[in-house]
């Protein structure tokens, strides 16, 4: 019997190694897997490259991981926010590297990695400082920038419900990067509000097919706890 559901958060983040590249789901705090991030902090892996849309809010979740000094590099589209003081401080002191990627290119690069593409030509960013030094091509009268896939060793994502085969459904705007990050990591780990019996999720409604998920863990009150 295949059961991807693990009993503890500790088990969920086991094996994450120093120097790993980790995708973390979420847009701001919506969809951020804070239980898994806390477990990662406790687990101790360091020198990490983190891929997320932002760079932490307040003092919890991704901000706490940054504060703990575990992050070597952030790949994100929008680090600077009203409550990104932890990142801001680390960045200004030169203690964290930043790769700034337009949000849609972040999504496209993650999808390229997940779908086995060698690269993508994207119109976003052409002629701007974020495309400097990159290969470009004119196709059918329009200008494109060559962007390479973004893959990860691990993806930590938050979903609403999952089953033991790893099928997932999400809740509202917490879905954001979860489904695409799940496709682009060697090991995708999901925190869910509930692990439901196989067959309970309507096959027509499953958003992330279990093939993209290696582990899931049920956490209490994962729903709407992210505030």
């Amino acid at each position: 019997m295949i059961n991807k559901s693990v009993a503890s958060l500790e088990e969920a983040v086991a094996g994450i190694f120093d120097g790993a590249t980790i995708m973390i789901g979420g847009f701001g705090t919506a969809g951020q897997p804070t239980y898994l991030i806390d477990a990662l902090i406790a687990q101790g892996a360091k020198n990490l490259t983190i891929i997320n849309n932002n760079a932490g809010n307040g003092e919890v979740g991704l901000a706490a991981l940054l504060k703990a000094g575990r992050v070597r590099k952030m790949v994100c589209s929008f680090p600077r926010q009203v409550d990104s003081q932890i990142f801001d401080d680390l960045y200004r002191r030169g203690e964290v590297e930043l790769e700034l990627v337009p949000q849609g290119n972040l999504a496209a690069r993650i999808q390229a990695a997940g779908s086995g593409l060698g690269a993508v030509f994207t119109p976003t960013g052409f002629g701007t400082p974020l495309a400097e030094g990159k290969e470009t091509r004119e196709i059918d009268g329009r200008h494109y920038v060559l962007e390479y896939p973004l893959k990860a060793d691990f993806a930590l994502i938050k979903a609403y419900e999952g089953d033991r085969w790893g099928n997932l459904v999400y809740r509202k705007a917490a879905r954001n990067f979860g489904p695409i990050m799940a496709t682009a990591a060697t090991v995708t780990i999901a925190e869910v509000s509930r692990v439901v019996p196989l067959g309970e999720l309507d096959p027509e409604h499953i958003v992330t097919p279990g093939i993209f998920v290696q582990r899931l863990v049920a956490v209490e009150a994962s729903l709407a706890q992210s505030a």
């Binding site: 589209s77 929008f78 337009p102 976003t124 701007t128 954001n176 489904p179 695409i180 958003v207």
Partner: protein, 218 residues
């Protein structure tokens, strides 16, 4: 020179958004347009974090941390609205499926280049978000901005001095003084507010303006 207020600007932009349009309102000033969309027209608001059919802010006590907009403010979903992941959301943007996006700007050039993500200040932390995708993706890119900076410099310029967001991507500019289309012939004024003369508008604008009112804005 009597400038439109922010709300008057929002109201003016709202008038040009037709029923059935798929629209993204950028963070900041453009968000205000939603307050003036006519309730009797169905207009689909897109938010890049995965919402289509976005509704107004929720009643107090009804806020859901997992139902937010791109500015990370609490919102609601209209009946018939839906959620999707970031890949689909940016396919809507980049793939030309949005009819209109409205963005704020630091500067727009006479040829429609947009600068709205960075002032290039050395001590600032760069952040771009979805601005570059919106700029090049929507069928029509409207910019909503003050005509002049606080220091009195015009934000419609020959060439942008700030880092670019997109090249030749702006279709129309709504300022607090005028509505200006970016055309193949250069910027063409369509409407001037509050009785300001074209000559006066041209005097404070450092690029050559055409003047050709549209029938519907006359």
């Amino acid at each position: 020179m009597k400038k439109l207020t922010r709300d008057e600007m929002a109201k003016r932009v709202a008038r040009d958004i037709p029923e059935g349009a798929y629209v993204n309102l950028g963070i900041g000033l453009p968000t205000r347009i939603a307050n003036y969309l006519p309730a009797d027209k169905e207009i689909f608001l897109h938010s890049e974090n995965g919402l289509l059919g976005m509704g107004p802010k929720p009643a107090e006590g009804e806020e859901d941390p997992e139902l937010i907009n791109a500015g990370k403010e609490y919102v609601t979903l209209l009946t018939g609205g839906c959620f999707f992941h970031h890949g689909d959301s940016f396919a809507m943007m980049r793939g030309g499926h949005l009819d209109i996006c409205v963005l704020g700007a630091y500067q727009v050039s006479a040829s429609g280049d947009l600068a709205n993500w960075s002032t290039g200040a050395v001590d600032s932390i760069p952040a771009v978000g979805g601005a570059m995708d919106l700029a090049i993706g929507a069928r029509q890119v409207f910019v909503m901005m003050d005509h002049l900076t606080r220091d009195g410099e015009c934000k419609l310029v020959e060439n942008c001095s700030y880092p670019l967001t997109g090249i030749g991507c702006v279709s129309r500019i709504y300022t607090d003084l005028a509505v200006i289309d970016i055309t193949e012939k250069g910027p063409v004024v369509r409407e001037i507010f509050n009785g300001l003369s074209f000559e006066e508008l041209q005097r404070i604008t450092p690029v050559t303006l055409g003047f050709e009112q549209l029938a519907e804005s006359a």
